[in-house]
Structures are given as structure tokens and as C-alpha cells.
Symmetry: C2
Subunit: 306 residues, 2 copies
């Protein structure tokens, strides 16, 4: 029989909560604004109130939270995410466990989305899935036989910090020349501003490039070249059965994907060319909340867990 | 009860064969010169003769071969390795199966050594092990819960082709600026020759650096910086419980390791610094033959298998 699981997708803008079956069926969903500017107490109060409502209706086995990093998934603590102002070492799993009396687990939003895409999305049925989110930042998650590979220090999938160009640019936290600083939406935006004084976000640059604006095309070419190098580095490390690409930048996927796939081939061993499967994520914004629920089915065993 | 397995470590210089138990005990070993200049027929004839002798003494369950790449481990075919002249698409598993009547599997030598180090060497008891061999080339193997992660196209662990510097150098097969072309023993040798006209191999450069020769120290610094970037890229992708370093270059490990560990920290997320376990391989030259035997315990299922 299906079990009921509660997933919480805590984003800087939206707070999504959903009852999901272990078969991935989304039974009921609640979406509200996070109102992160009102601080953690306010957000957690709202979270608990909505959870209580959902718990009254169904016998929920456990609660999983996907949240922006940095966080300590072993201890269940949200550290100090840039897009959750005022959160500073908040022991969220402990707080929810005490308020709701259920097992609670926490992991980063990319790992949650990776689980969902591997179990029910573009990676369904594949032995190994590497999910990458290309958005304001770049993150990822690696799923092997439907199991999240967390890593020795819970840092598996953190490919945003991969070095792809020793010459830069610098970044306050990430490596000089990291994939995130060269190939994220933020990188597209920065290059647009620097090179042609574009004011818009990455989407504006992609739209201009699609319409043949030369400088925009050059920016897209530069960014996709770095992204292709990052993807080929992942392939030469774990050779996953599929690479699933999600995140805001991939909303321009019809334009990006053919260019990207061609570039990835340039950086693969000859025998791998045209054999690496790369697809867009298929669950859209629901990946986060479904994946958060699926986190409860993974083998978390750290202290501080419910 | 222990099973008997036969491991074959086919190298360009030495051909090692050993009876190994599934518990990793090496019962009997035969080592001869490969005589690779005499071509594949000669080598395979010797291999079969020695195998027949070993098979007569004990009830051997299966035969595993570790060989230099490129090879097709799914089909059991050795393609055209640079250090096995004259070998060109040799269906080695099929030939041995027909001659010896046993199940035969084939994989590259780095994957074999990775299995051995994970099961019985420096990685023993660790949930996930990434093994890297730094020698003439750079290869690797990823072991998760004692299982070799082969990858969708049998290319997991091929980190020699990882891009760490887009500016070069070029290479006839590998990516421009690949880890192998920047951080292998061959790279040390090339830099020694280019920069100070040194005639010796990587060991000579390390010895000079150890004795304070400035140019040699600079070469070692450059090479270890790239190696550290490559290792940090692996960590940010899979965050293994241990990284085990083997291969000829690591014979200078007493000099290299402290420098390398310090450099790796420079390219890790702050929370990972001094937490990533990096150790030298511990099985020495026996890793290849023990690992080759262990290949038989992995789930190979491709066509052409015995």
C-alpha cells in the first residue's frame, strides 16, 4: 500500500508543501509566499500551521524538507542561505519534529529535485542519474539505483564549485573559475551587462541571441562552452546513464539544448560522442516538493534527526 | 567457503596471473614478461598456458582480466592500446573462454586496481572509494559499496580526460587542457625537458625538487596545482569517503603528499577543508592482479561474455 509522505519545498520566494505517495503521486499541495523578509520565526510558524492541517487529514509517515544551501543535512540545520535572510544555524528538523511528532529530514533543494526527476521524471528507470540545476547558481544531485549519493561530507553533486577555468573569474566563496561563476544564469546576466550593457536577466540575453543579436550570441556561446566542459567532466568521472538539466536557465531549452549537445560532444572521448543522454527535467516546479517527500525514504542517520 | 578466482593483470611490460580468494588472499602468483613486442598471439598463447597450469590445481570459478585501455569491457574486446602494439580489436574474453571453458570478464587496469584497493587496500571499509592512478597517464575507478560503478558507457573513472585548463596543452586524443596532459608523469617529464632540459623521467624531477632545485620545485608546484584541481572536481561531484592515489608518480609520495593535501584544500568548499580523506594506495603492484580477480564478482552482463 502507498505510504503518505509530506514534502516541504522551502524557497526564497515560494513555500510549497505537498502530500505525496511513495509512488510519487501528488495528493494535495499548498503553495504560499515564503515571506522570507519576515524572518525564520514567521516562516517556520506558517510552515507548522500548514503541516498541522495536512497531518490531520492523513496518516503521514514522515516529513522531508528541501531547502537552499548551505545547510547541514546530517544535523538537520539550515546554516545561512543568501536567499533566506536572517536564517543562521536554524535546527529546522528538530523544531518540526518537536512541533509535529514525526520523523523529519532535510537536504538541499538540488538533491531533492534530483531524487524526484530520477524516480518519476526524466530519469525514470535509469540506473544512474545526474541532475543539474542551472539557475542563479549551479547545483546538482547524483542518484544511483534510486538512492541519493550524499557523499562523505554531504557535498556530492556540488558541481557549481568545479574548476573549469583557472583564469577566473574570482568569487567570494566559490573557486576562481568555477562552473557556477562561468555558466549560471548569474554569469549570463553579468556578461550581458559587461559586454553590451544589457539590463535584463539571462532570459533577455537568450531572447536576443535567438533573434541573431551578435553579442548575445557570443555570450551564449561562451557560457555553453563552459557548461559543456562541466558536463563532460561529470561524464568522465561517473558516466551517468542520463544527465537531467533543470533550473531557470533551462526555460530557454529549445534554443539552448541543440547548441549544448553539440558542444558537449567536443569534450568527450570519441567513443562517447552522441551516446551520452542529456535531457531537460520533466517535473517542472513540482520536482522540489515531490523530491522533498522522497528524502524521507533515503537512509539519513545523522544526529539531530527525528 | 572461499571461492577461487583467477586474476590476470596484462601490462605492457609484465604479465601477472594469480589465484585469489574472494576474501582477497593471494594463493599463488605467476609473473612473466609480457613480451608485447612479439604481438598478441604470442602473449595470449603464454597467458593460456599459464592459466591451464593454475586451473589444473584448483577449482577456479571465473577469470578476470585487467588490461590497458582503450578497451570495450562490455564486449570483452581489447581495442588498440598504445602499450600493446599490434593489438587491434582482440576479443580476449571470447578467446580465453573458448580455450579454458570458464566465465571471463575484462575491464581496464585502473578499475581493477580500484576494486582491490577498495576491498582490501587503503579504501577498505569505506562506503565509497575513488581510486586514481597517476602514472604515464591518469586513470581512475569509482567503487560504491564494493561495487564498481562502470557507467552507462563503461567510462566512469576516466578522469584523465577532465578539462582543468581551457588554454592547453593540446593532445591527439584527450581534451585540450586535460588533467592527464597537465598532471601525469608524462606532464612532469615534458615540463622538465621544456623548462630545464632534464632528460630523466618524473622521478628525476621530483628528486631534484626535493633537493631544492628551483625550476624542479616550480614544475612540481604547477603539476600538483592541476592535480589538486582535478581532485577537488571529483570531490565536488561525488564527495567520496576516500580518494586513493596509486601509480608510478606516487612512488615519490613522501614528498608529494603533504604539498598535494595543502593544495587540495585551496580548491574545496570551506566546510570540506581537511575533511576529505586522501591516502596512498596500499597494495602496491599486487592491486592489479587482485582487482582483476575481483572483476569476476561484479555484475558484467554484456554480450561476448563467458
Amino acid at each position: 500500500m502507498d505510504k503518505y509522505l509530506l514534502g516541504i519545498d522551502l524557497g526564497g520566494t515560494n513555500l510549497r508543501m505537498a502530500v505525496v505517495t511513495s509512488e510519487g503521486n501528488l495528493i494535495e499541495e499548498v503553495k504560499v509566499k515564503t515571506e522570507s523578509d519576515k524572518g525564520p520565526k514567521h516562516v517556520i510558524h506558517n510552515m507548522i500551521t500548514i503541516c498541522e492541517g495536512l497531518l490531520q487529514k492523513r496518516n503521514i509517515e514522515a516529513i522531508g524538507i528541501g531547502a537552499p544551501g548551505p545547510l547541514d543535512s546530517k544535523q538537520g540545520i539550515i546554516l545561512n542561505p543568501p536567499n533566506l535572510p536572517g536564517w543562521d544555524e536554524v535546527p529546522l528538523t528538530l523544531i518540526l519534529k518537536e512541533a509535529l511528532g514525526k520523523k523529519v529530514v532535510l537536504d538541499n533543494d538540488a538533491n531533492a529535485a534530483a531524487l524526484a526527476e530520477a524516480a518519476f521524471g526524466a530519469g525514470k528507470g535509469k540506473e544512474s542519474v545526474f541532475y543539474m540545476t542551472i539557475s542563479t547558481g549551479i547545483g546538482g544531485g547524483y542518484i544511483y539505483r534510486n538512492q541519493l549519493i550524499q557523499g562523505a561530507n554531504f557535498c556530492a553533486g556540488e558541481v557549481g564549485n568545479m574548476v573549469v577555468n583557472p583564469d577566473g573569474p574570482p568569487h567570494p566563496i566559490l573557486n576562481v573559475g568555477s562552473l557556477e561563476s562561468l555558466a549560471s544564469g548569474t554569469a549570463v546576466h553579468r556578461l550581458g551587462k559587461e559586454k553590451v550593457g544589457m539590463a535584463g536577466d539571462a532570459g533577455v540575453v537568450f531572447t536576443l541571441a535567438m533573434n541573431g543579436q551578435q553579442e548575445a550570441e557570443e555570450i551564449v556561446d561562451t557560457v555553453l562552452t563552459y557548461l559543456a566542459k562541466g558536463i563532460s567532466n561529470i561524464v568522465h568521472t561517473i558516466d551517468p546513464h542520463i544527465i537531467v538539466l533543470g533550473g531557470g536557465v533551462m526555460q530557454s531549452n529549445e534554443y539552448i539544448m541543440p547548441l549544448l549537445l553539440e558542444k558537449v560532444n567536443d569534450y568527450l572521448y570519441p567513443q562517447l560522442r552522441n551516446k551520452v543522454q542529456i535531457e531537460c527535467a520533466s517535473l517542472g516546479t513540482k520536482a522540489g516538493v515531490i523530491g522533498a517527500a522522497l528524502l524521507t525514504q533515503q537512509g539519513y542517520s545523522g544526529k539531530g534527526r527525528g
